[in-house]
Assembly symmetry: D2
Homo-oligomer: 349 residues x 4
Amino acid sequence: MAVSRLNIAVLGASGYIGADLVRLAIGHPFVRIVALAGDSRAGQAMAESFPHLGFYDLPPIMRAEEVDWAGIDAAFGCLPHGASENVLSALPGNVRIIDHSADFRFRDPAIYAETYQRAHSRPDLLADAVYGLSEWARPALRKSPRIIACPGCYPTATLLALLPGMIAGLILPEDLIIDAKSGVSGAGRWVKEANLFAEIGESAHAYGVGTHRHAPEIEQELALATGSPVRINFTPHLLPMSRGEIVTCHVRLAPGVGADDLRAAIGDRYRDEPFVHLAPPGLSPATRHVRGSNHCLINVFPDRIAGRAIVIAVIDNLVKGSAGQAIQNLNLAMGWEETSGLGQVPLFP
Amino acid sequence: MAVSRLNIAVLGASGYIGADLVRLAIGHPFVRIVALAGDSRAGQAMAESFPHLGFYDLPPIMRAEEVDWAGIDAAFGCLPHGASENVLSALPGNVRIIDHSADFRFRDPAIYAETYQRAHSRPDLLADAVYGLSEWARPALRKSPRIIACPGCYPTATLLALLPGMIAGLILPEDLIIDAKSGVSGAGRWVKEANLFAEIGESAHAYGVGTHRHAPEIEQELALATGSPVRINFTPHLLPMSRGEIVTCHVRLAPGVGADDLRAAIGDRYRDEPFVHLAPPGLSPATRHVRGSNHCLINVFPDRIAGRAIVIAVIDNLVKGSAGQAIQNLNLAMGWEETSGLGQVPLFP
Amino acid sequence: MAVSRLNIAVLGASGYIGADLVRLAIGHPFVRIVALAGDSRAGQAMAESFPHLGFYDLPPIMRAEEVDWAGIDAAFGCLPHGASENVLSALPGNVRIIDHSADFRFRDPAIYAETYQRAHSRPDLLADAVYGLSEWARPALRKSPRIIACPGCYPTATLLALLPGMIAGLILPEDLIIDAKSGVSGAGRWVKEANLFAEIGESAHAYGVGTHRHAPEIEQELALATGSPVRINFTPHLLPMSRGEIVTCHVRLAPGVGADDLRAAIGDRYRDEPFVHLAPPGLSPATRHVRGSNHCLINVFPDRIAGRAIVIAVIDNLVKGSAGQAIQNLNLAMGWEETSGLGQVPLFP
Amino acid sequence: MAVSRLNIAVLGASGYIGADLVRLAIGHPFVRIVALAGDSRAGQAMAESFPHLGFYDLPPIMRAEEVDWAGIDAAFGCLPHGASENVLSALPGNVRIIDHSADFRFRDPAIYAETYQRAHSRPDLLADAVYGLSEWARPALRKSPRIIACPGCYPTATLLALLPGMIAGLILPEDLIIDAKSGVSGAGRWVKEANLFAEIGESAHAYGVGTHRHAPEIEQELALATGSPVRINFTPHLLPMSRGEIVTCHVRLAPGVGADDLRAAIGDRYRDEPFVHLAPPGLSPATRHVRGSNHCLINVFPDRIAGRAIVIAVIDNLVKGSAGQAIQNLNLAMGWEETSGLGQVPLFP
């Protein structure tokens, strides 16, 4: 391995996001995995928890407090909210933090507290954290911030779909209906009855209707981008599949604006993006189009109701929605080629 | 078998709706299957097309024109639109028709022609046909009409969810967003690449966005029920499952109306219904809750956006959305117990 | 309800077998569910644990020791081994017991002890228990035994496939290779990581290779039927589906015997059976052919290796493999029509 | 791109193997895709057939006879048998051929003719073709043969599992029972009713029992490796998943040989292999362990029947079973690093 590799640790390596980070990091030309932490699996080889990673030379899983941070340059946090804040805020100051939890996503500790039902113990850190929606945060990310808060999977897809039209004023900031659907891995490797195969297979249902925690996160970012408060409908559904996420955004257009105008604006914005793409006219984005990759595919359709449009975006929740975007953010922060380690072509079928 | 059984024929028996009709009819106490027609499978035993029906004594599949209608009391049409009209309109006048196609659903032949891109050849029959949304058409059905046009699967779920609130004026007839999701059997046994397992598995996508043919049908019925024209957003998605359908209706409430008011109205309307049910507070209806049965489960949730609510309904698209409702309609038309032959308890897991 | 209904209790009602028993019992003409027990869900309505049963009037779930046995005629045991023995052996003597655990399946307590790693506390009861493979135990079942031990799901399919040929000496009792495959519900509603949707989906693997507890059970029954000890290979696999079980038995034929001879023998044996069927020549039994029903479908194929054949059987593990066979056994023990309450037509797709 | 890239064409690019070849070739450091042929899709962009490849710059699909072979170094054949022979045998002599069909796999044209029911028109080419089971054909592959016949997916997994034990005489060449299970993509993108989602979902069945065409291929290779004719039982099953293949080989051991001996022999043989691995003791190989990658995972288990063992191998049928092994073979033939372009880490979940 090249001398110049960055030494990284993955905290929460025994979950699905942690595993996908390891999958991507294994093929990354500029990083080296030197520590894996996961309390419930401490003492095991990574292959015991994830046999699909057994073909690679990886450090054993240890407890987070056992990690020797000397020589570690960056830590990827894949821990639940609360736990993430506690563990990450105690890291040495020279360790860059790329976090997947909600703990560093909110500007306003009060909204965090209300949404996650706990007070933030280190609100001082919030101001420095960069909300890492890669395509929209490049200037801040290139300044190499110490803490990068990766967006939630739903906010990633939703914001990529809506921001061009919202910022340009093509979409009105009212009656925003975001009907989302996700595979089960979005719930993590949480061992509970509702996530059993026999419960999920051959079935679909909505969850967190009107109460899902990603709604305030989306609202924050839309408000920051447009300068005005926004209130959204966010209705996620659980589908009988493991990976993949689709958000169907039902939007009201500004007077005189047509779906084609919105489509053109999205196309213009993402024309040169390596990972975010406008689909050809009429192609309905499917989660299989991006499975296992860091791509996001978007399209716009006219509504039967005059003055409305439908914007659809698909991502792999564990890649562009989690581990892939985290790597992309590291690439930006380090000044590397943005696509480093993210060349996975979608896996289909 | 009892002397009093009604002799029925199933036209289009080699498709999924046809097969489910046979499944239900086998257990029906008052009917006897005397003819099965399906041009592409003519000459085969039903068990060759559907081995799961091989345990029962059934007539062979023949061509529709080979059916001897003497002694046949009722025909269930499970043919594509167009074909349905041609075949059914040629039947002897004493044969009751219960049709699953769109051919007899529309009051206005012009809307039919625009939606299905063909002129109706027997518009004279439209006036007599009853739109068989069982719970809302009982008076007409009990008059024993000759032609019963069974609603489409999406219209069934959507109308059951919306009619109580629309008729009571609790839901405003504007910005109706119906985000629907269905298993693959809704597309029938259509042999095309897009329906292959490897294409559908582990993926989800929207289809017919803004153009699906069930939208005008829903609009017709909402307009008839409320007395005013309605224009809806109807956005269906295809899910990696075989059966089941969920419609998520994002609605705007009349001033002063809350989600609880809407929920109460739905509960009142369906309190005594054998097949349509309001779920307990907070329970999110899942398609597995009704799989294989004629039940429909509905619930209402408040939206984050003030003045809006979310109404969710689930059905089995092949039962309450097709074959089951057809049987229910026959029961009503014959004056039998409405639940005859429809005692299937949902199959879970 | 008719005066003559039998009052039944279901112990372990919060598991999948318990739920399927309730599904079947709801439609049974001669039974009435009067008690549901399940310690982990005690105090809940059955609909909280299984919303698909929420459309029916059912007693609440209580602790097993809270059940008032006065007036209860029969108890269906759906508890784990060990627990089953403890609970059932304490029931009043007039309560008929139909058990799904392994606790009453073994003639020899030593084999039970070795297989389940615990000593049986009531070996005295073993002699009276009838091993309830319905089609092969009718004489004993019709004597109305107090304890009926329902076979395991794999033994049910395997024994139905092999017994005709074994007893007739067409299959040699050596090198019996039973390669089995099952949906996940066979593992029960056990909340563990290995049963999560994201672990099971799009994957298959063998488990319990060489060690599965159903092997000694199959061996016992084959030995009892043939009068000679038998040692089998039994290799089960877990498939990404919820219901259904297929056993592929690779057998050596007696000298001069062909696959057709074996096929004829199976056909002869089951010709008049309502639930066990020989498939037409060449039809490969699929689990979808019997889903949700009490049917078993069997076929025989010649092997490329001379002197061998392949016998394949499919069942729904929760019906013919569990709850359905239990009902069938009750029907036999009560002298009712054997098919009472078991008229469910397979659900396909 | 580097000057030294090899120009490749993919014939049959509109099928699943073709698409996966493109997926792997996109990331290969030494090849360049210059032509894609597929008669049924000629004139389309690759992205129309496979939207998941729409993010890459690829040549359009054309008819095979339209390909300009000047400057093309190698052709990957992904055509059906018969078609493959016809198209490939007409290519310019300087074009290296790596074929996925059965047309160049057999040494004996008579066995080919019997198995595939057609006479081979170019038996002269068979002698030169190398059967490309990479790990076992390296010497021949490194001689850079003009025609490489890639093994079928089932033979790949089966031979990798059995060859070490067969060659060492640990496994007896009799009563070899190979019970195999595959996802649906193994059937290709064949648009037929049996491959529809609603037919495959939630079901499993055997197919080609005793008649599957991969049996003679496996027998040929086992006979060549051991010097004696072998006759096998090969019983494949279709599972409700898209990718992945598992072969469960029930073998008889030579006198005095134990399962551990066989396990050790397999471990020794593959110790330094980059893609073929012995699993840790007790780990049951699952198809998810290798999904999307070129890895093969093998393990051995003792049987309950003395003197027998069970060898299980898993591969991704489209990668190690098809496109991946083809790339591996090209790497060997070109003298490149054998793992070039094959660094895909398994995708789980």
